[in-house]
């Protein structure tokens, strides 16, 4: 394997120290008092949010408004992909029964089995993450809403009794703080830019707001969000909440399509080595 000389220690890589096995050298014993099945479910929730949003963001690659934004969105997608990989690996190590069955001689690692061989009805991501990208305003607004909540989740996860999860949180919170700042800056810019950009960002917010309750934001997140809205001169939309049931594995067609594409090569070669 070439991971060391090929990838070196470049901070470019938003991953752990070993690129082959994301949890190499980590004690994955589930601590006393933590239910392995519940831990795995929690990791899948957060891992699937990251994986699905990363997939959406990477669709911008070569299509962003300018080169600088192309690079920025890819950075966010790479961070989330790194988080997804760690969290899915943690889920598999905590409770191997969540990993889909593959032929005995399949070389597919557990986190890839979870990403590429589960059906949509086994994914636990929130609905907002799976919706199609829409325009740049929709992408930015979604990233703002999701990263503001995910950052709060990671801030509290730093104290999680599971040392692996606590370490994932400690690393990820810095990334998420940047994602939130990036999205907030663009959100305010679009809201106060031109008449067209304002119209687009308000429309994006209206469309996404129905899925906000599913994110179950704590009170302090609502406060931060209101600060961003104030800076953008935007008020909370009056929209009837949608019944987002992503956490219970109920999804829209958009996730089915996203996964069909994402999983196509892996599933065509279940015994393939990549």
């Amino acid at each position: 394997m070439i991971s060391d000389d090929l990838l070196g220690n470049d901070a470019h890589w938003a991953f752990g120290t070993d690129f082959e096995d994301p949890l190499a050298g980590v004690d994955t014993t589930v601590p006393d008092g933590v239910d392995p099945a519940a831990l795995a479910r929690y990791c899948l929730m957060l891992g699937d949010d990251a994986l699905v949003l990363s997939q959406r963001l990477s669709e911008w690659c070569s299509r962003a408004p300018d080169l600088e934004e192309d690079i920025a969105l890819a950075n966010v997608a790479l961070d989330l992909l790194g988080q997804a990989r760690l969290l899915l690996a943690r889920a598999a190590a905590a409770d191997p029964s969540v990993v889909p069955a593959l032929p005995d001689d399949s070389p597919v690692p557990a986190e890839d089995a979870l990403a590429f061989f589960r059906s949509p009805a086994e994914f636990r991501n929130v609905t907002m993450a799976e919706l199609p990208n829409g325009d740049f305003a929709e992408t930015i607004t979604r990233l703002l809403l999701l990263s503001i909540c995910r950052l709060a989740e990671f801030e509290s996860m730093v104290a999680h009794p599971d040392a692996v999860l606590a370490a994932v949180a400690a690393k990820g919170r810095k990334e998420l703080a940047y994602h939130r700042d990036f999205a907030a800056r663009w959100f305010v810019t679009l809201a106060r830019g031109t008449a067209e950009s304002r119209r687009r960002v308000l429309g994006a917010l209206d469309g996404l707001w129905a899925f906000w309750p599913e994110l179950d934001a704590p009170a302090d997140v609502e406060v931060v969000l209101d600060q961003v809205f104030a800076a953008a001169d935007v008020s909370r939309p009056e929209v009837t909440p949608a019944r987002g049931l992503g956490r219970e594995c109920v999804h829209t067609e958009a996730l089915t399509d996203l996964l069909a594409e994402m999983q196509s090569v892996a599933r065509a070669h279940p015994k393939g080595l990549w």
Partner: protein
């Protein structure tokens, strides 16, 4: 259609070293220029310090000015005053 102005980017790769010119980018304002510089030129390497400055605000001398052969090229509109040499010790070059 408007084009974002050009910025020059300088990085301090670790404490104790000078900021060194690493390249350029376009950004609508100073804050975005800093974010873009981080994304383009540090790929999120923690602990570095970044300077950004609008290219048009750099005042530069020309190395050839002492040379009798120097001719002012005032008729040419250059967007960059100059580039700068990059020492070997700066990472991610």
């Amino acid at each position: 259609m408007s084009e974002w102005p050009l910025y020059e980017v300088f990085l301090r790769s670790k404490r104790g070293l000078n900021h060194v010119h690493v390249g350029s980018l376009h950004a609508p304002d100073d804050r975005f220029a800093l974010m873009h510089a981080r994304d383009v030129y540090t790929r999120r390497n923690e602990g570095v310090s970044i300077w950004v400055v609008r290219a048009c605000e750099i005042t530069a001398s020309s190395p050839d000015e002492k040379d009798p052969m120097f001719a002012p090229s005032g008729d040419k509109v250059y967007r960059h005053p100059t580039f700068y040499d990059i020492p070997e010790h700066v990472p991610h070059m």
